[in-house]
Symmetry: C2
Subunit: 347 residues, 2 copies
Amino acid sequence: MNTAQPPSYQNLKKHLGVYHARAVQRIKDHIPEKGPRESLYDLVLDYPTRGGKGFRPGLCMATCNAFGGDNELALNTAASLELFHNAFLVHDDIEDESLLRRGKPTMHQKEGLGIAVNVGDAMNVLGMRPLMANISILGHEQAWEIFTEVEHMVRQSVEGQAMELNWVRSNSSCISEEDYLEMVLKKTCWYTTIHPMRLGALIADVEISLDEFNLLGYYMGAAFQIQDDVLNLVADEEKYGKEKGGDILEGKRTLMLIHLMNHCSKKEGTEIKEFLGKERSCRSAADIEWIMTLMEKYGSINHGIVSSKQLAGAALHEFTRLFSSLPAHPDKEMMEDLVMYMIHRDY
Amino acid sequence: MNTAQPPSYQNLKKHLGVYHARAVQRIKDHIPEKGPRESLYDLVLDYPTRGGKGFRPGLCMATCNAFGGDNELALNTAASLELFHNAFLVHDDIEDESLLRRGKPTMHQKEGLGIAVNVGDAMNVLGMRPLMANISILGHEQAWEIFTEVEHMVRQSVEGQAMELNWVRSNSSCISEEDYLEMVLKKTCWYTTIHPMRLGALIADVEISLDEFNLLGYYMGAAFQIQDDVLNLVADEEKYGKEKGGDILEGKRTLMLIHLMNHCSKKEGTEIKEFLGKERSCRSAADIEWIMTLMEKYGSINHGIVSSKQLAGAALHEFTRLFSSLPAHPDKEMMEDLVMYMIHRDY
């Protein structure tokens, strides 16, 4: 009997929490003093202060320090990443018709669609302000380099989002794992892991090419996304903060759903496609249970768990290649913990 | 009997059309070659190629030339303005639940809500690309100055949008004309007139302060917005390209509706508020007729027309102050025509 418990990652969470809090404070510093509050600037702070995990500012700040930089110089960029991330979530929740985010009603559920679209837009433009503040700290040239990274990051996210939305809209059932991983690279990896590390390294003035971080970021980000989607199926709703099985309700093409559609019988495939073609409001709790049972039957959830662990293993390998020669540093340790946490987290 | 016809502005339209076409071509040059087409990049070009009037690129390019600059240097910025404008329209149509834009179904009506939100986001990030291309033409420093102008422009628009959405959401009936003009300054003027002129002047390296353009832009932009809202009530739907009376259906707080609410009887005021408190789907064509009749009764539409003309008169005065000492130039003439056109246009 295996009684080994996964580590609790208390140190990691504390460490990330500190970076997250610093980024949120920097976001607050960039909110204009004048302008509408209740219908705009108070709402801009809503998602960021719901207590996200702070992966993005954490990865950016920790990479900067681990590579010998001064991560105080990366704080504006980290704040910008956190703001863009939350802007993305506000619009993503609209696009996916999600009900809950971090345990509370989503922005459009709470404030109405119009205000929510506009708040997301406001967050995107406010995300530019810390990048402008980089000029006086890092000079015009590096400030533009950072900006170029951010432009690529946001653009990749909208491209990934377009791929995913199009699958739902066209009720696609012929999606390969390769398609899925391309979508995740675009939708998740660039902005969750690759660019945060690239930006931290850029500000640390590393001598290696920033492209060296791409593979590590891809493995980490994909492991993270798949684990996130597994948790949507199996996690404790209260801890996880989203509706359990919400992805199925949304018709989201997760690795598990794709695996199921590629492995079930023809008859089941037709039924699944029919279910996914229904209006969201016509999908019931019983439908979710039925899809979950099929996923169990075909080992789709297990396939997701295994894939996530494999990707995390590859990430660990890449991490060693890039970081092992660096001197010991709490931020280097944190980065290693973070790779492991991607597959051990239960919310 | 006054048989004078307003001028047809054929020259102006042609001149603006050339600038618009150049801006749209430059937008196309900045669309990435790879990436989703049907669900993203083809749609990014949808609104810009529906044939807008091209006020923003036109004002930017013409101001640059009129002040002795080379407006080829302003083309990236003009393209960026046109793209941000169209991004704003895609999201604005969602926020206002509009059905038609430039004579065709709005993006969310045509492509669904999720895709439309994402396409607007894509347009906003693509709007950054021409600004990045400014670096190699104008240098790091001026490229940042332009960026700072654009950040302010987009931020003012979301602030104005928040004010307007909040009036609809809270079913406000106590709005002064001063409140209205503040909202229009934020929502319309900065991005339609003030910043396009400031940016053209900046690129022309003018010696006067860019703030000198603020008052002219404010008068022009407010005249434009009020005339736009008047046209929504009285214009030929086919020419105008939006649903006639659509603003009333949306509960939009136009100058005319505000004038009506501030001048009608208490009983009528209660009825109007009740109507505006209804779900949009519960508002009928008869309701629109009834509000229109009340607007006629209290001279609200006429008040809008007169206000627009007064603002355009003030704009003409400001225009003379700023432009009269400049040498003759087709772009200077175009600017003057444009001020007049703001109040004469019938679509």
